[in-house]
Point group: C2
DNA sequence: GTCTATGCAAAGCTTTTGCACCACT
DNA sequence: AGTGGTGCAAAAGCTTTGCATAGAC
């Protein structure tokens, strides 16, 4: 696994450039997001940074800030819950999520551009999409 | 527009075959789903059948029954809210949803099968997917 | 010093659950 | 008659908001 520090520093640089403040809870959250390269819920992130004693509300508000800054991507589960994950530059992918154990893996492949073209022809702009696959992994079967 | 009665009758037949009961609230809900061929929230359906004086809880429970019977499909919005829509046989498609006015249109196209193959190779079974596009429609721009 | 971020408490919203009663088959 | 559906009330679960205080720049 590559050194995680550069990724962390890059995220902090973005925050600074966008005039967001670098605080202890935020540093702890970024460290968690870098260390766990998979989608996490606000609750899970909160548990990971327990040592920092940050409030769950702070986690939500900081995740919102991260999303606005473009360093974190949010998406919804079948259940309605939201997960968050660090954005990797120029890298678009989706996930396959186990319905039972919630393990999530990246699918390094995207064929949605054709669909987005279709939507564009319908007059839509600023298009993006939410796509997640759900299934049962071997261990849960 | 085609006569909507056959679609309604077909749905009722499925319910009967699956031993679900045909009640006033359910008939009103089906009529709404047939009349409004677009994704609706439980709340919206509840408003549409106000004349029947059915409880919102009944709407949720019946939608769950409809989903189990396979006549209704549920999916999640960016916001975490759920929408419901009648299933059209042998027809798989996705939506483009306006972030502002929430109008939803069908995209009669699906290229996800390749992704599902990928997930299968990772050892997952019982795979399905959630895909929605979001954008701004011409009127909202 | 200013202005954003935080903590705590409380509210908000959609969805779910419990339980007694009703009604479809 | 028996099983499933319904209404009402209440809870649950995730997320958001208000406000006073603390802390980053």
């Amino acid at each position: 696994m590559a050194n995680q520090k550069p990724q962390m520093d890059a995220a902090i640089d973005v925050l600074r450039r966008e005039h967001y403040r670098i605080t202890e809870p935020r540093k702890a959250m970024l460290a968690t997001l870098v260390r766990e390269p998979k989608p996490l819920s606000a609750e899970e992130i909160h548990k990971h940074i327990a040592a920092t004693k940050a409030d769950l509300v702070t986690v939500y508000r900081s995740l919102e800030a991260f999303e606005k800054a473009g360093i974190v991507q949010k998406f919804n589960l079948e259940s309605g819950k939201s997960l968050y994950e660090l954005v990797e530059e120029n890298h678009h992918y989706h996930h396959i999520i186990c319905r039972k154990c919630h393990r999530a893996e990246k699918l390094d492949f995207c064929e949605i551009s054709k669909l987005e073209e279709l939507a564009k022809h319908l007059g839509y702009s600023d298009i993006n999409h939410v796509l997640e696959l759900y299934g049962l992994c071997e261990d849960c079967r």
